[in-house]
Amino acid sequence: MYEKHPCWSILLRLFHWMFALSIVVLVVTGFYVNSPWTNTMLESSQSWPMAWMRYLHFVAGYVFSAAIIIRLFLYIFGNQQERIWDILPVTRRNLRNLWKTLLHYSYIKEAGQHDRLGHNVLAGLTYIVTVFAAIVQICSGFYMLYPEAAFWEGWGVAIFGNQQSSRYIHHLLMWWFIIFAMIHVYMCIWNDVKRPEGVISSIFTGDKFTHTKA
């Protein structure tokens, strides 16, 4: 018998899909902006590929930033699964979960029933690192987008030194998101196979399932 539990709020699912789709757009357009692989040889074609790619990149950047604001809000004001204390490996419960997850993921010891409905601590930690990386991307991105705005100029110079360094870090961190996405999708499929909690459908429906002894 399985019991259905509401796990992810609508806001969290909204965050997830805003984040995921904006990352896809940002990576594709970002590669183009860094190294445009087309060359408009026809004069006056008025196709503006670079202008369009940059425009899409900026729009996706705003969606990405909004998604991060939602996630930060939910870390503090979300439901039990969404709050940061459910993830940070500072409590005994979370440290135990981290250790068990590591053993489970490396096929050493099967984890039994989950002690929680939300993220395991390893996944949760990876997400925190990703959110941090996203904040660096947002800072470097807005510094490059608004180079003459005193706010971004001040912060940008303080953090990155100059525009080129911020471009460099912006580009390197993009690879974190690509690699993260690949591992994330794999681990979700893996967990869906190993555990009957319905982790993949939960990001659409918001519900997870737990085993009941009935």
């Binding site: 860094n34 190294s35 445009p36 087309t38 060359n39 408009t40 040889m41 004069e43 074609s45 008025q46 196709s47 503006w48 590929p49 670079m50 202008a51 096929y107 099967e110 490059m144 180079p147 003459e148 005193a150 100029e153 001040g154 110079v157 303080a158 030194g161 100059n162 525009q163 080129q164 360094s165 471009r167 460099y168 580009h171 390197l172 993009m174 690879w175 690509i178 690699i179 690949m182 591992i183 794999y186 893996w190 196979v193 190993k194 555990r195 009957p196």
Partner: protein, 358 residues
């Protein structure tokens, strides 16, 4: 004594040239033409500001570009507007005589003279890597700097350390800003900077009795407030996706955007596309070479390779130097392989042990 250069080398700055130079400076400063008379008045005032010009770790290129500008009136105007009391390259005095003038200006006009610094200041090993008159650059700056009304750091070396400060920075070279506090410092970076940016700053100071508005790196906004990319004449080619693929190709001949051959215009703040150089209205991008980003901090470390978009990734301890995307692709490949192994182990385990009792 003070006006050696002006009196002996240049008695002939005519009024026309003088007004022309002031007008150019007003344009560079973004002032309306109604301000030009005030600029002229300030520049023609009897009491001209004393300027002490010190050379430290540098190539004198900034001085050269200033004095040998193709428009001779510009150099003459600068020398006419200021009283250049001490300048190692152009002064007639030498040895003890020169040192005496320096001391005299610094003590008699303490708190009133403008100090111009050209070149970086080496700080390693007590600063012994640059000595003038038996004194290290560090000591000279520490002695004279606090007595100045304002310091103008001219050139990328004096502002951010320049090529001397490039990694591994063997002499510990730094810019003026890193050593001086309490005295306003204006940075005029560039390798060399446009003489107009220097003249504009000086005229602004003379006319308004204060320094021009500056960004967080102490660069005057009138000259360094906009990115090169945003004022570039090749910008439409960028937006339209027309790029030079390599130097000398048909796109290069057609004058397309230099982005793909490493132009650093999008990362660099300067007035080059607007003010241009040498009175013949040229600047690097107009003659087919990308910007190298010489007005930015650490440009030798962050803007190189000059003909690629991004700096190389240096993995510490391995000696590996590769471009960001090839490193990224490799890490991605290793991750994909790890995922493959992880999945294979899981499937293998299940084949051997069965599905378990979930």
């Amino acid at each position: 004594m003070a006006d050696t250069v002006h009196n002996t080398l240049d008695p002939q700055l005519n009024r026309r040239g003088f007004l022309k130079g002031c007008t150019m400076a007003a344009a560079a400063l973004g002032l309306s033409e109604t301000m030009i008379p005030k600029l002229v008045e300030a520049a023609a005032a009897a009491e001209r500001p004393r300027v002490v010009w010190l050379h430290f770790q540098e190539c004198t290129g900034c001085t050269e570009s200033l004095l040998r500008a193709s428009h001779p009136d510009l150099a003459h105007l600068i020398l006419d507007v200021i009283s250049l009391d001490y300048h190692e390259t152009v002064m007639a005095a030498a040895g003890h005589q020169a040192e005496e003038i320096l001391q005299k200006t610094v003590t008699e006009h303490a708190g009133k003279f403008i100090l111009v610094i050209e070149g970086a200041i080496p700080t390693k090993d007590g600063g012994i890597y640059c000595k003038v008159g038996g004194k290290t650059a560090m000591d000279t700056l520490a002695e004279i700097g606090p007595k100045a009304a304002a310091i103008i750091a001219i050139g990328t070396c004096a502002t951010f350390g320049g090529v001397q400060a490039a990694s591994p920075n063997p002499t510990g070279a730094v810019g003026v800003m890193d050593l001086i506090s309490g005295v306003p410092v204006v940075n005029i970076p560039g390798c060399p900077p446009n003489p107009m940016s220097f003249l504009g700053t000086v005229l602004h100071y003379l006319t308004f009795k204060r320094l021009p508005a500056m960004d967080s790196l102490n660069r005057p906004l009138f000259a360094y407030g906009r990115r090169i990319h945003d004022h570039c004449e090749r910008r439409p080619h960028f937006d339209e996706g027309r790029f030079v693929e390599q130097f000398g190709d048909e796109f290069h001949k057609a004058g397309y955007c230099l982005y793909k051959v490493g132009c650093k215009g999008p990362e660099t703040f300067s007035n080059c596309p607007a003010v241009r150089f040498n009175d013949v209205d040229v600047w690097p991008v107009s003659v087919g070479h990308g910007c190298v980003g010489c007005t930015e901090p650490n440009f030798w470390d962050t803007m190189t390779p000059f003909y690629d978009r991004l700096p190389m990734v240096k993995i510490p301890g391995t000696g590996i130097i590769a471009d960001a995307d090839s490193v990224g692709t490799k890490v991605l490949g290793v991750t994909a392989a790890a995922i493959g192994i992880h999945a294979a182990v899981g499937i293998g385990k299940r084949l051997i042990k069965g599905k378990g009792n979930e």
